[in-house]
Amino acid sequence: EDQVTQSPEALRLQEGESSSLNCSYTVSGLRGLFWYRQDPGKGPEFLFTLYSAGEEKEKERLKATLTKKESFLHITAPKPEDSATYLCAVQEGGGYNKLIFGAGTRLAVHP
């Protein structure tokens, strides 16, 4: 059965303190791995898609990387506005592009 596990469940950082969020997955035939950001009371907001092991993508203070078993979301010098829940999702081969999500990592960045 396809599974996505995110760690840690919650992370508290001081402003400027870099860290990484982990997403490990088991899926038959990965089509893509997605990172979303979700603020309270809002829907998930797309950040990145990664398609193959070794791929990396960057956006401002965020960098996502992918291996055959896991993905990391690196946050460099975070700011309070980076506080949110970060969701990882996988899309398996076959089917109709449904996303299988992890439970998310709740990030709090304090000034």
Binding site: G43, P44, L87, Y96, N97, K98, L99
Partner: protein, 115 residues
């Protein structure tokens, strides 16, 4: 339109009532997905439409859940005889095409509370 919209944003129902949740996808988007998000969890897939055709309903938890998209644009998720375990945020997402390269854009969700 600016993005995916959903209504109502909040719905309180008494156990046993029927509810209908509406999704307006981005204009021209072919694919439409419904997800259910329990408190503190990630979204879970419910059903998928390609235009007006419901191609995957494998995630619908029971026959009390029914979804439709009759004209290939607006979609409605209906829950009959609501139960307390149906309390969750219901998210709608749409994408431009049917390729797995197409990003899914999410609406703000409808928070359903069943008393």
């Amino acid at each position: 339109g600016a993005g995916v919209s959903q209504s109502p944003r909040y719905k309180v129902a008494k156990r046993g009532q029927d509810v209908a949740l509406r999704c307006d996808p981005i204009s021209g988007h072919v694919s439409l997905f419904w997800y259910q998000q329990a408190l503190g969890q990630g979204p879970e897939f419910l059903t998928y439409f390609q235009n007006e055709a419901q191609l995957d309903k494998s995630g619908l938890p029971s026959d009390r859940f029914f979804a439709e998209r009759p004209e290939g644009s607006v979609s409605t998720l209906k829950i009959q005889r609501t139960q307390q375990e149906d309390s969750a945020v219901y998210l709608c997402a749409s994408s431009t095409g049917t390729s797995f390269y197409n990003e899914q854009f999410f609406g703000p969700g409808t928070r359903l509370t069943v008393l």
